[in-house]
């Protein structure tokens, strides 16, 4: 999985490319989120437009960090999740835990 992080208006925009699943993909994203939290960055937009699949490990990582970051007054918001990612998050009942946006811009602006 490719992970690209850029900062926009005090928001970390994390662009993921590839399946978010157990193994190197989940490990890399966990490291990225730990580094962000370590730097005090708790406003995160996760762009999932190029993530065709999220497995239970990926879902577990997202909801775990969502809880941690919300405890610190921040949030993880999702931008452009793929159709199957949305279906999967809905299947396990966690879709409504996230704010979802059509693009990065609107997700970033929602933190203002």
């Amino acid at each position: 999985m490719d992970i690209n992080v850029r900062k926009r208006s005090q928001v970390q925009v994390v662009q993921l490319r590839g399946a978010l699943r157990m193994g190197p993909a989940v490990d890399s994203l966990r490291q990225t989120l730990e580094e962000a939290m370590g730097n005090g960055d708790t406003r995160i937009v996760m762009n999932l437009s190029e993530v065709p699949m999220i497995d239970s490990s990926g879902i577990g990582l997202l909801v775990r960090f969502l809880a941690l970051i919300k405890q610190r007054g921040g949030n993880i918001k999702l931008a452009q999740p793929s159709k199957f990612a949305v279906q999967t998050l809905r299947l396990v009942g966690v879709l409504n835990l996230f704010e979802i946006f059509d693009n990065d811009d609107s997700a970033v602006e929602s933190f203002a």
Partner: protein
């Protein structure tokens, strides 16, 4: 090699599409899942169906690696894919572990479990596939897609 597997397409002949053995290492899962997706694509299985099968297999292999083999790469997980003449597909994942009782799993959609970082794998498999059986002593799962 034709074979018989209970459920889904009872007593009908099955054609083997793929038979893989992989070390019990989480990094080995993706290659098996991707090869199954490629095999199904060549059979013109629709994308939505391929994604659902791929995710179910991903979860079954992850369970086999973590729970069946304790992440011990000296152990191996077997994954077989077969098709029935009526187009139904079955994926069988076998690990050498002691097995488990799938009936005792908690509901991941309960409010107290929503933020949990685990406990969704078998639930997802059951939601994504049309028929799921735990065989032998619970260390083999057969997942049917119609």
């Amino acid at each position: 090699m034709p074979n018989e597997i209970s459920g889904g397409s009872e007593n009908s002949e099955l054609s083997e599409l793929l038979d893989r053995s992989m070390p019990a290492n989480s990094e080995a899962i993706a290659a098996v899942v991707d090869s199954i997706s490629e095999t199904l694509a060549k059979l013109d299985v629709p994308e939505q169906k391929r994604l659902e099968i791929a995710l179910a297999v991903q979860e079954a292999l992850a369970n086999a690696v973590v729970h069946g083999c304790g992440n011990d790469p000296s152990k191996h997980v077997r994954c077989r894919v077969k098709s029935a003449p009526n187009g139904r597909i079955v994926i069988i994942v076998t690990d050498p572990g002691p097995g488990f009782k799938a009936d005792g799993l908690s509901d991941p959609k309960k409010s107290e479990n929503l933020y949990s970082d685990h406990g969704r794998g078998v639930y997802l498999i059951r939601q994504l596939m049309d028929e799921v059986h735990f065989e032998r002593r619970g260390n083999e799962i057969s997942m049917w897609k119609y």
